[in-house]
Amino acid sequence: MSKTGTIGDSVFRTILIIFAATIIVIVVAMIAMMVQNSLPTIREFGLGFLTGRRWQPASDIFGALPFIYGTIVSSVIALVLAVPLSLGIAIFLVEQAPQKIARPIAFMVELLAAIPSVVYGLWGIFVLAPFIRSYLGPVLQSYLGWLPLFQGRLTGIGMLTGGMIMALMVTPIVTAVVRDVLEAVSTTQREAALALGATKWETTTIVLGNAASGIAGAVVLGLGRALGETMAVTMVIGNSPQISSSLFEPAYTIASVLAANFAEATDKLYLSALIEMGLVLFLVTFIVNAFAKLLVIRVARRSGAH
């Protein structure tokens, strides 16, 4: 090889390595900066920060539990609603619908993911919240009102509205991953089942069984998205740091307390408390996403071996 070739090669390669390394530098710097800037509250409160129930920035009392509670409960609501819906859509698209119908429908579901979070929030405030206040809420209260979950005042703004709007946003992502996972299951399995006389649905259950860990991965990935969902939830969840058993009551999530208060937090300890919550959210979503990836990869590998 000519000399200019080898020099060119090493220069080219070095430039590309720098670009690739930038991604690692960003994530490392992200962790370092957040740890450094949350040291004041880590020193002051230790682990008590995570279990404290009181949040009074004016008197320097910072307990993150109401936000952790709100984040978990709203995400659970989102998954309870989004997972069956996404499974249904994905099964329909991969196993049932003819290609001609499946393609445009798949595209429309993808468009749901392209709509910005703040737009879901706007729609949530002016369409979903009034709907829950006037229709869904009263119905739930008249049939299930004996449950503490559905007691309390109906304003339309609260935990349930936050969870429902999250469900809409998580659905296209879970659907997309489940579709990929189902498509990765070998066609010979479907043919074998059909040849033995199984009905379409019985064939589908066999496919689902084989794709189980990948579907679990899709659900965990949806959880990761729900935990970090910010704008739409901030706009409809009511932003009140309380732990209430009622889903109609206003609540608060980690992401939404950051969105709503970060710009005004000038006090050093207050800022540190918010950044520490950001750090917690980062670590949790990091672990959840890594776990999801492992589950999805396992399916891809196994079907690759067929």
């Binding site: 060119g8 879901y120 950044i275």
Partner: protein
Amino acid sequence: MSNEAVHNRRKLISMVMTTLTAACAVIAIAILTIILTYIGYKGVAAINWEFLVETPKPVGEGGGIGNAIVGSAIMTLLASLIGLPIGIGAGVYLAEFGDKWFGSTVRFVADTLIGVPSIIVGIFVYTLVVLPMTRQSGFAGSLSLAIIMIPIVARTTEEMIRLVPKSMREGALALGAPQWRVTWNIVLPAAASGIATGAMLSIARISGETAPLLFTALNSRFYNFYVDQPMSSLTVQIYNFATGPFEVEHQMAWAATLILVGLILVINILVRMFTKKKY
């Protein structure tokens, strides 16, 4: 139960389940349609020329989102200038040299960065740029958007380059071309349209981001072309209008949303039309 009864029952279950899964698809399409028609219906009613060029005014005096449109355009452009070269470069590395430990590490970190909530990116840039500069700026906003863009562009670029057949590389190498020429003159042009669609989708994605701009770019009531000053954006403006107390603001929120969603839909549909021919 007779054989035939069992058979009929199994067929019935199968049909019911097919109907249920189809119903799920119908629900999703219905939701999309409801959201889009509502935006169209509310937005068209409030939109006019003055709204597109004016700056925000006190409630009741009209005003518009001209500065927000310009701010969004500047920040999206600057973010693309920072994010696209890094993202595409990293993607080329992953596809062409990324099969060893360093490549897998970058790939894993990129995937986790994609999953990081965008508000965390905002916090990071706040500590990195806003605190030392002691003020919010359009640059800080652009940097946040660029960081969101980089891993997405890197991963789509990698996928697109991996679609280029090995035989093309081998042919060029056999003719005596050095590796960098093969990548630069053969592989990249072959993957260019795929990389471009990935880039377009990432631009659509960042143009809808709000959370990372809230405390990095903040907002501004004026036309501002200097990226060292706080800068308005369509998304932050929508958030402020939507959470404001007045009906006039809500109408403006819908009108601004119509423009934002219209833009994002156009990009998505165009990308879809161009890629449909190829695959």
